[in-house]
Symmetry: C2
Subunit: 480 residues, 2 copies
């Protein structure tokens, strides 16, 4: 492990983080809420630290697999640690734990909040809060399509051949090229949603913040009532559409922008994702209709928004699903374990893994009838290597282990069973709102201190596909 | 599929079921509670049906894999269907659904009850109720050590070489020999516990009934308060010991009886099982101590009984774990997914699978560090074939799918979230008591009609290692 390289690159990341704080600084100057100095001070501290990290470790950065893991994990954590500064310095979030939780929730595109009243925050801080989502989303697209496939994490190697960019020779040039292309797509999508939201009557500020929350599948809103605040059919429709887009593999959008529109239809994962959401809608709408006093249209409207919001792991809300019957709540709880497509900004287990897990189950039943036959798992016409399958299965087991262990720890801290379970499901899956005390109309303020740190860790674990973080705890990883 | 062979053998099973009803008939005569006629009538109906099944399908029974699956599933279901007769005929359980649920719960050694007042039942019926456990336990030992390994179900093929009996050439002679040996062990264990319980002051009747409930990891008691009724340190100790024995691979007991006492220590699964229970005890006792007003001794005593009862999937109770803090309840809920050793009468996922799932997770993390190395999963010194691992992983996925789908269906019927989840966990894992409305001091009487049938199916699915039942739903299974 070459720690110097790691610190060197984290220095660069911090520098970029500081630069990206100029946007909220601009909003702070424009709205004159008095938060400009706190943001300016944070820029200074972050930039200086970044420069020190960078300069003190003069090195020719060579990216090997181990450094890759370390940069991703420590990079994300450091970004959250410094991103928390504006909230603490201004005093909007006096506790550093709370500010760290909020920023980690932002950078991991989770959207779980400890704020009890969002609307009292100054505009600069609100913008920074939403921007962390957007930056996190940029990070995750590149991570999942350009880095993880090469680290062999959790079945992502499936996507080695599929991502755009030059041939997969060396990690560094490939990451650069792929990042450029995908960030281009990300910018186009961001621009489009912002325009469409402004067209629906939002201010530039609100439109940008909610676009950041959507395209990164984050879920931070500038309003206490989330998207319900706007009570607009049009705005809900636009956000549903862009949540769906954000939950899709961004390399498909890249192909579509190049004119290959059929890519969506050809992609097995996208088809499953689309049909799965449709099925959940057909299940949830009647449950809402029969358990809450809604009209047919309102039931479908609420079901569509909430289902898409949870499956894509965004976490925006237009309805409190805790007033639905227990079966509706159960659907939401289970959807927290699905997630978007691979290569999207969505979190959780992800559609491709769910698909292959189900296919594997079916294959094993077939094998019982033909004990001596070779029956591979197929995706489309393509045979999936058993190594990929066992890798995905192990991912699923680790995910469940962390979920169970985490829920136990949260229960130990005195949370009731459902809150404990849902808080871990919602943070590990990078969704945001859970059930019971952390439901869509509540927040994470009342979680004990230790719980907030633990949930922050789960957000990071979930966001970095678990393996990436866990590997740092293997002693062998640190040996020369 | 040779349906004639299946019906022929089920005829024999029914005949044996009728014969085994003579024991409760004897107790009915002895105690003179007025239930003798109902049992006698049930014997007649069951025996006649058995003879008709047997005689109408003159065939030279050849056991192939497909017939094996069909006999196991339909045999178990038919036993429950006819075993319900005494309860209905006498009128103790007027609804056939309830009686079927209770008997299925007996034969699957689950121990979930719809009875609100157990103690008003006549002695004959109570004895029959407990005897269904004992018969189910006999069935499951043979199934898991002599039949499933050859059907290749859920990793049980690991035990092909380990079971006593002649060399694995043909299914039929092997089943016969293995059955004889294991039933011998089962009888010895039954005899020992009955004696020890009588020594503690129980009547022969109570001793036999509770022994049946223990050695089969069933959990039916003759008392409303379950084992808490006796409030005896000695009786609790004996039952803990025999629950532990019942949760152990019976082929280990066979070797021990032959003098090879070291078999226990040598067996990796048994060691894991023992250490796992010890760990759970060390976690649970402090939770009880700090959340309930118990002394240190009472906390350990309650923890020991409840942990062993749930891990072995027995379901006897000396304490209501719903008065514990949420973390204690969470431990109990998670323990419902562990289960006893393979080849024991315990249900649920089973220790060997849990072990191999964990080992697989660790192996995949190691592979990340050495992408090109061949790292097999090992158990002791033995390399476990990847086929067995993927088979176990698929079992786990199917188990979770049924758990999730089942919980959703139960929630749809109007149960609250925790009751819905716990009722499926407790029946699929063949435990018995769950949480909330189906907790240790409650029962399944209030579950809706459709829910009782569904939970009965889950008991069967869990007991027959899922695959065995699911395969009957594959159309190809029925083709000639």
């Amino acid at each position: 492990m070459n720690l110097k390289t790691v610190i060197h690159i984290i220095g660069i990341l911090l520098f970029f983080e500081a630069v990206s704080m100029f946007a909220p600084l601009a909003f702070a100057f424009y709205y004159q809420d008095g938060d400009a100095w706190a943001i300016a001070a944070s820029i200074l501290i972050t930039m200086l630290t970044g420069l020190i990290f960078y300069a003190s470790t003069k090195t020719k950065p060579e990216l090997r697999v181990r450094e890759g893991f370390a940069i991703v994990v420590f990079g994300w954590a450091t970004m959250a640690a410094f991103g928390a500064l504006p909230f603490v310095l201004y005093g909007a979030v006096p506790s550093y734990t709370d500010a760290f939780f909020e920023t980690m929730s932002g950078f991991t595109t989770t959207g779980a909040s400890i704020l009890t009243n969002i609307e009292v925050l100054p505009h600069g801080l609100l913008f920074w809060r939403s921007e962390t989502h957007w930056l996190g989303g940029m990070g995750i697209i590149v991570l999942s399509l350009a880095i993880l496939p090469f680290l062999g994490v959790g079945g992502m190697q499936l996507f080695k051949a599929e991502v755009p960019g030059p041939s997969p020779d060396k990690l560094k040039p490939r990451i650069k090229e792929t990042a450029k292309i995908l960030w281009g797509v990300y910018l186009v999508v961001t621009f489009a949603e912002t325009l469409l939201l402004m067209f629906g009557g939002m201010s530039l500020f609100d439109a940008l913040c909610h676009t950041f929350g959507t395209v990164a599948t984050g879920g931070f809103s500038t309003k206490n009532a989330s998207i319900a605040h706007f009570d607009s059919f049009y705005i809900e429709g636009i956000i549903i559409l862009f949540m769906l887009i954000a939950g899709t593999n961004f390399s498909l959008h890249y192909r579509a922008l190049k004119g290959e529109w059929k890519s969506y239809h050809k992609d097995r994962e996208f088809r499953f994702y689309f049909l799965f959401i449709l099925t959940c809608l057909l299940i949830t709408a009647p449950i809402i209709y029969f358990s809450v006093n809604y009209s047919v249209v309102d039931s479908i409207r609420s079901a569509a928004f909430q289902v898409v919001s949870i499956v894509t792991t965004t976490g925006y809300a237009t309805d409190d699903f805790e007033i639905w019957s227990s079966s509706g709540q159960f659907v939401m709880l289970i959807l927290m374990f699905i997630g978007g497509c691979a290569g999207s900004t969505g979190g959780s287990i992800k559609i491709i893994r769910i698909m292959l897990l189900l296919k594997h189950g079916v294959t094993e039943i077939k094998k019982l009838l033909h004990p001596n036959a070779y029956i591979p798992v197929r995706l489309g016409g393509r045979v999936i290597s058993p190594d990929v399958i066992t890798n995905i299965l192990a991912f699923f087991i680790l995910y469940m282990l962390i979920f169970v262990g985490g829920s136990f720890c949260m229960a130990l801290m005195g949370l009731d069973l459902i809150t404990a379970i849902a808080s871990v499901a919602a943070t590990l899956g990078n969704i945001g709102p859970g059930l019971a005390d952390v439901g869509p109309t509540d927040n994470y303020a009342a979680i004990p201190l230790a719980g907030k740190w633990l949930l922050s860790l789960f957000m990071l674990l979930g966001r970095l596909e678990i393996y990436t973080v866990i590997i740092l705890f293997v002693p062998e990883f640190w040996k020369k």
